[in-house]
């Protein structure tokens, strides 16, 4: 058996340490990672992938903790991938989401992994999708992905999740501005957390009004649910909403449609990455850029013809994560 097969066998046998090591393998861009991901793929697809996003401090981790506990009571297994931003200055990160999920740490039916975005924009890390697939194959019925998201630029979660729970809180200043920043497009369910604070009802009414104005929805109209996550209030209703939405999407074919759409996006990304990697390897190895730029400077060639010549030398595509 290859190393990739060993990993896959360990993961589907439910070995936590192997799942953890496999996520690191992908995260570190190990050369065997792609072979591993290919072998893993046939064992994925069973878990429902739930994105939880919203502004910093909105209560995403607290909500995830409560939803996970409710699901555990129903006998479901839960995976959690919690993504926090990496500092662009130091490359380091504080991954603090587990503070709100302490009791889940020792539950054998729960696996939590924290990751830094490591320079990726869009709120996810390069390896988030793969980590989700590992936890899927590991036997999770639900995999939650927690990401910080505020504006349109941080919504990659949509392209990976089966359903997105958008968490907002009252008192963020101009609520409507927050909504205008594109969140209406990404949320399948709106959760107004910290409903113990002033303004929750007004925010709910505003959201409903925005949804009225939007009028048309690809699937269900997103419900607006108020919660006080820190007191576990409204969380059972939120879970009911989530499960109902997922079941509807599955029955209507919308889930399959969404997964297909996400796969298209994923393949485009894989190919773009592979081509980029192949081009940079080719040019680095051959010194072709120096050669051709000199020729162009001497008036012997133009940049397009030079690029054509370089691309013609590619005989195999080198994948990269």
């Amino acid at each position: 058996m290859s190393k990739a097969d060993d990993y896959v066998a360990g993961i589907i046998a439910g070995k936590a340490r192997i799942a953890a090591k496999a996520i690191s393998l992908v995260e570190n861009g190990d050369s065997s990672a792609i072979e591993f991901l290919k072998a893993l793929y046939p064992h994925t697809g069973k878990a429902r992938i739930v994105g939880i996003t919203g502004p910093p401090g909105a209560g995403k981790s607290t909500l995830t903790d409560k939803l996970a506990k409710l699901l555990r009571k129903k006998g479901k297994r839960v995976g959690i991938v919690a993504v926090d931003p990496t500092s662009p200055f130091t490359g380091g990160a504080i991954l603090g989401d587990r503070i709100r999920m302490q009791e889940l740490a020792t539950d054998p039916g729960v696996f939590i992994r924290s990751m830094g975005t490591r320079g990726q924009l869009g709120g996810l890390a390069r390896s988030t999708h793969s980590a989700v697939r590992v936890l899927d194959a590991y036997g999770s019925d639900f995999v939650f992905i927690e990401t910080v998201g505020v504006g349109q630029s941080e919504v990659d979660i949509v392209q990976l999740a089966d359903i997105v729970l958008l968490v907002t809180i009252p008192g963020m200043g101009d609520d409507i501005q927050v909504i205008k920043a594109g969140i209406l497009e990404i949320g399948d369910i709106f959760c107004i957390n910290k409903a113990d604070m002033d303004g929750a009802n007004r925010l709910a009414a505003e959201l409903e009004m925005m949804l009225d104005l939007k009028g048309h929805f690809e699937g269900l109209r997103p419900p607006v649910v108020k919660t006080v996550a820190s007191e576990d209030k409204g969380t059972a209703e939120l879970l009911e909403s989530l499960l109902f939405h997922l079941a509807e999407d599955e029955n209507s074919g919308r889930l399959a449609e969404r997964r297909e759409k996400n796969l298209k996006t994923e393949m485009l990304r894989i190919m773009a990455k592979a081509l980029e990697n192949t081009v940079s390897r080719l040019t680095e190895q051959t010194g072709a850029l120096e050669n051709y730029s000199r020729q162009i400077m001497q008036g012997a060639l133009d940049p397009f013809s030079a690029s054509e010549k370089m691309l013609a030398q590619i005989n195999n595509i080198q994948f990269r994560l």
Binding site: R17, A20, N28, G91, L95, G96, Q102, A105, G116, R118
Partner: protein, 132 residues
């Protein structure tokens, strides 16, 4: 191969009421480019061991003030051993009397940093003693 990042779990076992020290070291490690998983106060050894395993950290940094290090630290390292986690550098920090240090080292705590330690020393110890 992408750049390999050092992942560290900073954990506080026991009943300490505050975590200033743990946060200082956490921030210093982040500023040194590491990924620091922080789990908050009052962690049981079982929680710490499970988190170490799931997060697949390179380093476990145990921080304690309450004086219970002689029971809690060895309990954590014993649990790691039980779970075949043998590639994690375990270090300790906090209010720990010098005379306890040899005992802790015998139990898998590879370095002990007491208050007043320069955080740069912790960073360089980690970088030179990683087990993988």
């Amino acid at each position: 191969m992408l750049e390999r990042k050092i992942r560290v779990l900073v954990a506080k076992p026991g009943l300490d009421g505050h975590d200033r020290g743990a946060k200082v070291i956490g921030r210093a490690l982040r500023d040194a480019g590491m990924e620091v998983v922080y789990t908050g106060l009052r962690q049981t050894p079982e929680q710490i061991a499970a988190t170490t395993l799931q997060e697949d950290v390179d380093v476990l940094c145990l921080s304690i003030l309450s004086g219970a290090h002689n029971t809690l630290f060895p309990r954590v390292t014993a649990l790691l051993k039980e779970n075949d986690v043998d590639d994690v550098l375990v270090i300790g920090g906090g209010v720990i009397p010098d005379e306890d240090i040899p005992f802790l080292k015998d139990h898998g705590i590879e370095a002990v940093f007491t208050p007043g330690t320069n955080t740069e020393d912790v960073v360089s110890f980690i970088k030179t003693n990683l087990k993988r």
